[in-house]
C-alpha cells in the first residue's frame, strides 16, 4: 500500500471530535448551574402599559364610583404593589409603648412584621420559654421584671456613614435600655441597661462606622440610681450621655468598653453623630437649662413653664474621640460600676462645649456632608443651622460668650451659627434628600416643610439657598419624619414618611384609642410638588422615629443556616437533638426531654414525668423549607416557642401542677397541623387525687 496523505475521513473525524469537545465546553457552565439544582426561571415580563379606550372608561367609572380624583389615581399607581412584587425600601419603625419594632415595606406601606425587643411577644415566642426564660431574665431591672419598653429611636448600623443592613439598635426611653437586633434573622440578641440613669431619650444613634451607639439621657437624676431631694437638684442631679461600644464581630455591645459622660442637669434630648466633615463629634440638644424643678402642686410654675423661661438652651458639642482617649487613659470615675467621664475632666480635656440654641429645641440633625447641624426650634419657628467649620474655628480661637454654672465653655452664638431659616410653627426634626433639600416636620402646623440647603448643596436645586420651598399638610401633628436613607451620607430622596401622631378622622373610628398615621410623601420631584400618596394606620403603640433602608442592603436569612441553630449564639448548638436522638432521660428529679419537630409530628409524642420534676426541654425544628415554621406550646405552663426552620430552642420549668397537658404546634404548618401534638403526662405525687372533677363534686 502506498503511503498517502492523512485520510480525509480521518480529518473529518478529528474535526467532529473537536466540535463535540467544544460543545461540551460550552455546556459546562450550564451543567455547573444545574449542579446548583436551579433551573433558570423566565423573569416576569414587564411590557409598556397601553390603556385602551375601553380600559380608560372602566378606570374613569371606578374612579367616579369610588369618588377618586386624578391625584388619587396617581397616588395609587405610585404605591400599589402587586402580589409577589417586593418593595424598594424597608422602614424600621419604633413601636413606641409596644416595646417592639415594626418593619414596613415602602412604597406599598404594607406591614411586613414586628420585632419584639422590650416586650414579650408570643408569636415570636419571645419571652415564653418557661421559668428561666433568658429573655425575661434580660428584661429584669434591679431584680424586677420590666416587661415593656418605650421604643423611640431605631438606628441601623452604618459603615462609612451609610446603612450596611447588618444590625439595628433601639432605645427604651422609659427604662434607659438599648436593644441590639441582628438583621440576619431579625431577632433581638441583647438588651443593655444603663446603670446610671432611670430613663433616657437620645438613643439610639450610631457613629459613622458603628464603633459606638450613642444613648443621650433626658430627665436628670442622681446618677447610678441615687437619691437626693429636689432642693438639691442643681448640686446632685446630673444628665449624661453614654457611648456604648459595639463589637461588630460578636454582634454585641461590649459593656466593659463603654463609658458615659457626665452632663449638667439640663434635660438632654435627641442626638446625632457627626460624619465626614464633622466625624469625631456628636451633638445633643437640651432643654431646661433653667434647671426648673417644677412643683405645680406647691404653687411653683409647672415644668412646662419653668423649663421654657429662658430664650436659649444649649446644644452640646462632644468631641467623642477625645472622650474615648480620656476613657482609655482611665480619667473616669466609677458610678454603679460604670465608667463616667466627669464634668471637670470634660472641661479640662476639651471634650464638651456648648452652643446657645433657641429655647427648648427638639432634633439636631447633621447634613449628609457633615458640614451643618440643623437644630429644630420646636418653640421657635426657625431651624438654626450651625457650621462645623465655624464650631471648630470658635473652639480653636476660644470665641466663648461665657461659661455655664458647671464651667462648660459656651461658644459665641454668632460665631458658630450659619443661618436661621423660618419654616413655620413647631419645627421638630429634619431629614435630607439627594437634591439639596432638607425636610422638617412642623408639629403645630401639621405639615412637612421642604427647604433648600446652602453651601455645596446650593447648586443641586433651582431655589435660593436656605429658603422655605413648600409645605405639604399632613394629618395630623407630625412628630418625626424619615426620608429614604435620609440621615446617612448619601440620602436617596424618592420617599418620605410623615409619622403623624394623631389620625382623628383619617380612618374609621376605632373607639377612643386611635391609631397613629404613617403617611407616605412622594418627594421624587423637586420644587413645590410633594404629594401625600398613602396613609397607613399603626394600631400598635405610638411610634416615634423610623429609618428607611434600601431593601437590597438587607441580607436576611430565608431559613437558619443549619438545622440545630441557636439564634442566641448564632451558631450550631451542640445540645440540639438530632433525628434519632429523641428521648427522655432522668437524673433524680431532673428530666431532660430531647425533641424534634418535623411536619407533621413531634418526637416524642408522649412525655411522662412526675409532679415536682424540673424539666429541661430541647427542641430542634428539623425543617429546611422557607416558611415551614412550627410553634410549640404547653397550655397552663405559659410556654410558646416559635420554631423557625432549623431553629433550636430550650426551655425549663418545674412540673408543679400535675395533670395531662396536650402540647401542640401553634403555627399552621401543614395539612396535618392539627395532628401535630402530643401529651405531657405529669403524674401526681402519691396520695393526691387524679380526678379533680370528682373531688369538686364531693366537696359540693
Amino acid at each position: 500500500m502506498k503511503k498517502t496523505n492523512p485520510n480525509p475521513r480521518f480529518t473529518r473525524l478529528v474535526a467532529m471530535l473537536l466540535a463535540a469537545g467544544a460543545t461540551c465546553a460550552c455546556l459546562a457552565p450550564q451543567a455547573l448551574a444545574q449542579q446548583e439544582g436551579r433551573r433558570r426561571r423566565a423573569a416576569a415580563e414587564s411590557k409598556p402599559v397601553e390603556i385602551t379606550a375601553e380600559q380608560s372608561a372602566m378606570l374613569t367609572k371606578i374612579a367616579n364610583d369610588r369618588k377618586l380624583n386624578v391625584d388619587d389615581l396617581l397616588a395609587a399607581a405610585k404605591t400599589y404593589t402587586p402580589s409577589g412584587r417586593h418593595d424598594d425600601y424597608v422602614l424600621f419603625s419604633s413601636g413606641g409603648q409596644s416595646g417592639q419594632i415594626f418593619a414596613i415595606g415602602v412604597p406599598s406601606m404594607r406591614l411586613l412584621r414586628s420585632i419584639a425587643v422590650f416586650t414579650p411577644e408570643s408569636w415570636q415566642g419571645y419571652g415564653f420559654a418557661g421559668d428561666d426564660d433568658p429573655v425575661r431574665k434580660r428584661l429584669e431591672i434591679n431584680g424586677k421584671p420590666v416587661l415593656w419598653g418605650d421604643t423611640h429611636h431605631p438606628a441601623l448600623s452604618e459603615t462609612a456613614g451609610d446603612y450596611d443592613g447588618q444590625f439595628l439598635f433601639i432605645g427604651d426611653k422609659a427604662n434607659a435600655r438599648l436593644g441590639v437586633i441582628d438583621l440576619r434573622d431579625w431577632e433581638t440578641k441583647q438588651i443593655v441597661k444603663n446603670p446610671l440613669t432611670v430613663s433616657d431619650h437620645g438613643a439610639a444613634f450610631v457613629t459613622p462606622n458603628t464603633d459606638y451607639v450613642i444613648e443621650g439621657g433626658q430627665y436628670a437624676t442622681v446618677l447610678g440610681y441615687g437619691y437626693a431631694p429636689p432642693e438639691e437638684y442643681k448640686k446632685s442631679y446630673r444628665g449624661m450621655v453614654t457611648m456604648w461600644k459595639f463589637d461588630r464581630s460578636k454582634g454585641r455591645i461590649d459593656e466593659s468598653q463603654s463609658f458615659a459622660i457626665e452632663l449638667p442637669p439640663y434635660w438632654q434630648d435627641l442626638a446625632d453623630a457627626g460624619k465626614l466633615a464633622s466625624d469625631g463629634y456628636f451633638f445633643v440638644n437640651s432643654f431646661n437649662a433653667e434647671m426648673a424643678t417644677g412643683g405645680v402642686e406647691k404653687g411653683n410654675p409647672p415644668f412646662e413653664a419653668g423649663a421654657s423661661k429662658r430664650d436659649m438652651d444649649y446644644l452640646h458639642i462632644v468631641d467623642w474621640k477625645k472622650a474615648e482617649a480620656a476613657f482609655k487613659a482611665g480619667k473616669v470615675k466609677k458610678i454603679n460600676g460604670f465608667s463616667v467621664i466627669m464634668l471637670d475632666t470634660s472641661v479640662s480635656e476639651g471634650i464638651l462645649y456648648f452652643a446657645p440654641e433657641p429655647k427648648s429645641p427638639h432634633g439636631v440633625d447633621v447634613t449628609p456632608n457633615g458640614q451643618y447641624m440643623v437644630v429644630a426650634g420646636k418653640l421657635d419657628p426657625h431651624v438654626t443651622v450651625y457650621s462645623i467649620e465655624k464650631v471648630k474655628k470658635a473652639i480653636a480661637e476660644k470665641k466663648f460668650s461665657g461659661k455655664d454654672d458647671y464651667g462648660v465653655p459656651v461658644l459665641d452664638f454668632d460665631a458658630v451659627k450659619e443661618v436661621q431659616v423660618e419654616l413655620g410653627l413647631g419645627p421638630l426634626h429634619t431629614q435630607f434628600d439627594n437634591k439639596g433639600y432638607a425636610y422638617t416636620s412642623l408639629f403645630l402646623d401639621s405639615a412637612v416643610a421642604r427647604w433648600s440647603l446652602g453651601g455645596e448643596y446650593a447648586s443641586l436645586h433651582a431655589e435660593q439657598p436656605w429658603k422655605l420651598v413648600t409645605k405639604t399638610p399632613v394629618q395630623y401633628n407630625i412628630g418625626h419624619l424619615c426620608a429614604a436613607e435620609g440621615d446617612t451620607v448619601s440620602p436617596d430622596g424618592n420617599y418620605l414618611i410623615s409619622m403623624s401622631k394623631w389620625s382623628v378622622d383619617r380612618f374609621l373610628c376605632t373607639g377612643p384609642l386611635l391609631p397613629q398615621n404613617f403617611q407616605l410623601l412622594d418627594i421624587s420631584q423637586g420644587g413645590t410638588t410633594m404629594p401625600v400618596t398613602y396613609d397607613l394606620p399603626i394600631g400598635v403603640g405610638e411610634p416615634h422615629y423610623c429609618q428607611m433602608i434600601k431593601a437590597d442592603k438587607l441580607k436576611s436569612w430565608p431559613v437558619y443556616p443549619e438545622v440545630g441553630w441557636n439564634p442566641h449564639t448564632q451558631m450550631l448548638d451542640p445540645n440540639a437533638p438530632k433525628k434519632g436522638e429523641e428521648g427522655i432521660t432522668r437524673e433524680g428529679n431532673k428530666v431532660l426531654v430531647k425533641m424534634t419537630a418535623l411536619r407533621s409530628h413531634f418526637t416524642p409524642e408522649h412525655v411522662e414525668i412526675n409532679e415536682g420534676d424540673v424539666v429541661t426541654w430541647r427542641i430542634s425544628a428539623n425543617e429546611t423549607a422557607q416558611d415551614a415554621t412550627h410553634g410549640f406550646c404547653i397550655g397552663g405552663y405559659n410556654v410558646n416557642l416559635s420554631l423557625e426552620p432549623g431553629e433550636f430552642s430550650e426551655f425549663t420549668f418545674t412540673a408543679d401542677k400535675p395533670g395531662t397537658y396536650p402540647y401542640y404546634c401553634t403555627e399552621f404548618c401543614s395539612a396535618l397541623h392539627l395532628e401535630m401534638m402530643g401529651y405531657l403526662h405529669i403524674k401526681p405525687k402519691a396520695g393526691v387525687s387524679v380526678k379533680p372533677t370528682e373531688t369538686t363534686a364531693a366537696q359540693k
Binding site: 503511503k3 473525524l13 463535540a20 461540551c24 459546562a28 449542579q35
Partner: protein, 225 residues
Amino acid sequence: MSSFLSTLIGPRVSESELRAHRARYLTPTAIFMIARVLLLVSIFFPYWHMELEAPQYPNGLYLTAYCNHLTGDVREIDGLNHYIGMRPLGEAAAFERSASVWMILAMFLLVEGAAFIHSKWAVLLAVPAITFPIGFIVDLYYWMRTFGLNLDPKAPLSNSVKPFVPTVIGEGGIGQFKTFAEFGIGYWLAVAAAGCIVVGFYFHRRAYRPLTLRAAGAANPATAG
C-alpha cells in the same frame, strides 16, 4: 505464544506497518481514549434532574442525581413523601450509588484494554460502557416504579394519592405537584462515550480486520489463497 491467546488478543502491528499507516492504527486508540475521558468526567456531572412545582413552593423543589449521590431538596421531598407513604429517597439504589464510581473505573480500564486487543473479542470488553446509559435508565425506572407502586397504605394521604409510576423523563404530576425530569450533562457524557466506542470499533475493525485475515491466510495458505 499460544494460538488461543494470539487469537484472542489479535495480530500485533509491525513497526514498519505502523509507520506506514499511523493514522489507521491510532484512530481507534484515540477515539477509545476520548470515550474513556468522557466517561470519567461524567462522574462529576449530574446524570438526572427533577424539578417539582407546587403553589406553596414558588421557587420549586429540585432533585439532582449524580451517578453516586443525590442532592437538592432531598430532605424536603422526603418530608413531603412521608405524607403519601413513599420511602425516603436515600433508600433507593443504594448499591448502585455506592458501586457506580468503581463500575465506571472498571469500564474505563476495560475500554483501555479493548484498545490493546486487536481481535473481535475487544467488543466484549466494551459492552459494559456501551450499555451503561441504557442500564442507567432501566435502573432509574425500576427504582421509581418500585417506590411509586409501594406506598404505605396507612399513609395520611393514602385516600388522595394512590400508588403511581413517577415520570422518569419529561412532564409528570403527583398531588398538587407538577414534575419535570430531564437527563443531566453527566448522562449525556456517558452517552457520548458509548457513541465514541461504537465509532471507535468501526475504525478498530477497519485497522485490524485485514491483519487478522492476513494472519489467518498465512497460517492456512490453502484457504487464504
